[in-house]
Symmetry: D2
Subunit: 115 residues, 4 copies
């Protein structure tokens, strides 16, 4: 399975099935899932915590470290999708809507090269 | 656009285009993007901070509040996709790989109904 | 040593000494320390992640669990004090200044019993 | 009031009084307070999010920006103290205990200059 052929709905269904098979829906409240996203985000950040950008680039040469980081990224994503399921929110629509508003907020001519 | 027809690659391309149009790649280092994910996750969590689950359920009846929460979920997702772009990681493969390992770690018969 | 006889300056000196003995000042930049605070805060939060308030109350009966939580609280505090050292900020003055402004923002008569 | 004359107990009493005057103890559960610490930590981190260490140094020259950062540091500290109150944990003892264990974990001769 790869990103070019996998829809958001495909991934969401896999997360629904995992949660439902364990009867974990009562734990997957919006508040708990938002907490889980924040915790997994911190575990992801931990990989970069004391490193300069140059040291990060070097660390990413190590396939095991890259896999560990991808694993934390997966954890964040899984909880994001589970929260979308719990809230019945369309992720694609939310992302595209936000990008469109950001196009207005950060016009290219004004923001090119500025953070 | 909806989750049933949108691939991960579709969304990733939209994020790439937004970042590239502003020459923001130098800011979108793995460390900065992980920091951004953590910050947006906290903004999402803020919506639930002092509420009980019952109060959350009530708050979600308000379409404006639900839209604001979907908006924060979009922010987290956008930075997740941008980090996947920066690391050249396949999100679907990472998510499915993690779900498979979690199938082993949390066997259904042992974990049903337990958090 | 106990809170009734320990000043903020006492604790800050202990943190300074620990960091200086290892020549860790170059790593203890404001950005890295803020990142460390966020990561330790998430490790603290992890103890409560899937528990209801009743389950938390039960978990806190276990002295080992309480000690583990106090340990995470200590980690957050150590990085807060190290950041105060790095910024040369007086913690007591900052806390009291903030409490005074919050007195204005949340008048007792209006906010009693409301979150 | 300054850190050299203010004890942890002094600050804790001020936080107790603020919370009690508003009858906010029911909201100040360990779980909610840990969530609040994580959220305030993210607001602190936001000040450094897209900046290099050199840009942070420059930003800190601005007294208003430094005050805003001290303000976020105060928010984290206030919730740390409120959690210590809720758990009846001695902050000084927890911090010193942790520093002592870290002395063992990170011997000076081995860790000098290494993160």
């Amino acid at each position: 399975m790869t990103d070019s052929r996998t829809t958001l709905a495909d991934l969401r269904r896999r997360v629904v099935a995992f949660v439902a098979a364990r009867d974990w829906q009562p734990f997957h409240t919006p508040k708990n899932l938002s907490t889980a996203i924040a915790i997994e985000a911190a575990e992801l950040l931990e990989h970069f915590q004391w490193l300069s950008d140059a040291q990060v680039a070097e660390a990413l040469q190590d396939p095991q470290e890259l896999a560990a980081i991808a694993d934390e990224l997966a954890d964040v994503t899984i909880y994001v999708l589970s929260l979308a399921n719990a809230l019945d929110v369309d992720v694609s629509a939310a992302v595209l809507g936000k990008l469109e508003r950001n196009e207005q907020r950060f016009p290219v001519e004004e923001w090119r090269g500025r953070a």
